[in-house]
Symmetry: C2
Subunit: 441 residues, 2 copies
């Protein structure tokens, strides 16, 4: 195929919901599209907590980017990490030394978790949940905590091992807390001989006045009640002042715990820094109404790395449907710019499809088209919607099979401790005291 030199180059950074949606809008254009991501897969992040709690496997919720975009002939995929954008020179620079020229650029680089300035101290003890390796790390920590508790002689230490603190009462925190409680109360129920996993303490800590603050207040109340029915202890108006390997410190005391999951702070990707443009406190780029970055014609930013406002002036939430809609919008405007047909500066309008959060088996809350649902109907809607939005018939079948199995039996098949495993304490096998102390340390 002979390509005229005038084909405009579009670079899309990030193969999440926003980046993929932008790429797809450009399928029938004259553009040469490059999608660059440091991972080789697109991740369905809304279900990542199910990998962290042993219900699903990573491959059930992730798809190779190349496979997803293979049939788009005007597109290539590069696996690399972007380190800088040379806006004046219209080039993207990568870790491995690539320089990718562009006429149009879409930054769909997402967000990561952040620890209110305590990243160095808190990150190692309170992992967050953004990547597949995060999820298998949390899975390993949770499962090993039970293994250590089973082997532990000291009752206080055993209690500490069986305490799980989830920091942050947004949808991810609610889902993690509910899923850990179900894992302990149902799935692991018969697995141990010395400990009773049902006695595990699961605490959800939220700094604000209620969980799921972005939902209608009645749904927050319902979510808290559903969590408590599952055995989760919900502490609202509780601000975390320290996280360590011994537990979580709040204003009014300490929760001794060996396992902490971070679902509180979010920080946008460094895309704003690459361009030295205005960001909000969470590092999100402040874009114009058309999602273009002010002062940088041809450069768009979409998804969680952006602070955008809908036509009503309310901020667009950091959820998957919003990222998809923004990606589609940016892609469409670029296509218009290339073809010269249509308004290339049309403002983005966010269509709010509602919100859902699941809590456990038959427990959830949902707000869809002004209708509020709780409990089983909300959960059913959540399950159907999530299976529907998974990409590909294979994943839909496999996830639906796993969920049906899980629902019928409480079993969670993916309880694998993979990767490096630290030695466990051994007090149940008459270990010499010295060795015991060493492992408790």
């Amino acid at each position: 195929m002979i390509v005229p030199a005038s084909r405009p180059a579009v670079v899309i950074v990030g193969a999440g919901f926003g980046g993929l949606a932008a790429a797809r809008e450009l399928a029938r254009t004259m553009a040469d599209v490059t999608v660059i991501d440091r991972r080789n897969y697109h991740l369905f992040q809304p279900l990542l907590y199910q990998v962290a709690t042993s219900a699903l496997s990573p491959a059930d919720i992730a798809w190779p980017v190349r496979g997803l975009l293979a049939r788009q002939a005007n597109l290539r995929v590069i696996m690399d990490r972007v380190t800088a954008v040379d806006a004046a020179g219209h080039r993207v620079i990568t870790e491995s030394g690539r320089t990718l020229p562009f006429d149009y650029l879409v930054l769909a680089t997402g967000a990561r978790h952040a620890y209110f300035g305590h990243d160095d101290a808190w990150a190692p003890v309170a992992p967050g949940l953004k990547k597949i390796d995060d999820a298998t790390d949390i899975r390993r920590r949770v499962l090993i905590a039970f293994e250590r508790a089973e082997a532990e002689e000291d009752m206080a230490e055993r209690r500490r091992l069986m305490t799980f603190v989830v920091v942050g009462g947004g949808p991810t925190g609610v889902e993690m807390a509910g899923a850990i409680a179900e894992l302990a109360r149902h799935t692991l129920r018969r697995d141990f001989r010395r400990i009773d996993p049902r006695a595990a303490r699961v605490v959800l800590v939220e700094a604000g006045a209620r969980v799921l603050a972005s939902f209608d207040e009645r749904l927050s109340v319902s979510a808290q009640r559903q969590l408590e029915r599952l055995g989760v202890e919900v502490q609202t108006a509780a601000r975390v002042t320290d996280c360590s390997s011994d537990g979580v410190t709040l204003g009014d005391g300490m929760i001794p715990a060996r396992t902490i999951v971070w679902a509180a702070g979010v920080m946008a990707s460094p895309a704003g820094k690459w361009l030295c443009v205005d960001t909000d406190r969470a590092g999100r780029i402040i874009v114009g109404p058309d999602l273009a970055i002010p002062g940088h014609p041809g450069i768009y930013a979409v998804g969680d790395t952006v602070a955008a406002a809908g036509l009503d002036g309310r901020p667009v939430p950091g959820v998957a449907p919003a990222a998809k809609q923004m990606g589609r919008h940016a892609g469409r405007l670029i296509a218009r710019g290339i073809s010269g047909r249509g308004d290339p500066a049309e403002p983005f309008r966010y269509r709010d499809a509602g919100a859902m959060a699941t809590i456990g088996r038959g427990a959830a809350v949902a707000e869809v088209m002004g209708i509020r649902l709780s409990g089983f109907p909300a959960w059913l809607l959540w399950a159907v919607a999530h299976v529907y939005f998974l990409i590909g018939a294979r994943n839909r079948l496999v996830v639906a099979t796993n969920w049906a199995w899980n629902y019928l039996t409480f079993d969670r098949g993916a309880r694998l401790i993979t990767g490096p495993v630290p030695p466990l304490p051994a007090s149940d096998g008459r270990a010499p005291p010295a060795s015991r102390a060493e492992h408790a340390a």
Copy 2:
């Protein structure tokens, strides 16, 4: 439950096919059974190559040991690594300092890969396939090789990146070579823009005169033909003299390759060393006809860590059904010893259920009850038997779904590069030469 001090203690080391079978035989005895494994899961090793080649997820072929044995009330599971056996003191000693007293001991510790004395030099460049982490490591290497090739400018280096050498023509080697060839020729076919994955070179190297030496010679010929039809280059009578990151050296030259998979040598677990008993050259314990270790009454060894002979004098092969049968036999003899009923020294008789090896989509060989099958019928039998032997309805459903999907579409869903990823070369993006050289190194 008050336990009389006289309940005999049985320790089973290893939760593979042999260990689990032994544990189950002891369910209705007066014994206190302890199963100890350094992993928290039982692995269906015969399908591990499908994880390494992106067809299945780890959790599809692995089950938490605690879950499998939860209903056996006289049994506990310990996650720990055995480091020694004090035969005189009747105690097992573990890494974390446990000492586990026993009246009966079953060593079901399996085998690992070995490199004919070159472990230090060859293991890092030619990973073998025994554990889940091995499989995800090989998956990462294979997928990254294609990513690097796509980005590589130098044609010789690109060729080297797209060459995959599998060392060892037993069932694992045949299955790996066939699966890599299918991955390249079918699954990845449309995924790249600069390389054609169908041009990948897959070489299966076997030191002996034919692949699948343990099968009937006609099936070896058929397997080789089926491999060649898939595009695998089969080199028999080819002895490997060196493995490096540049390739594999044979007697008559070198195959330049960046990815090597080791499926040749096997070395038994160190169980023989723990007891200072006679082993064969592969480290396998030479057991008596009843699978007890000579000179150590009450200590049995089963599965791949054992050199046992059937009643006909032929060696029992290192396959899953043999390990299961041996485990069941040892468990039964221990139960007889405890109850005082039945012959506690009955010799083990191996019932050969046949052998199978799969090569690819619709391609396999099988020898079952004296009947030899090749091609599609063998493959169908292989698929049905392997789904049947998987534990649990959930895994059967999920694996069957994945296979049906794979068969219909050639897609392999689990193509995820997880864990640490090295920077890839970047010659397609006009990288400065210095940086390029650095990454090619």
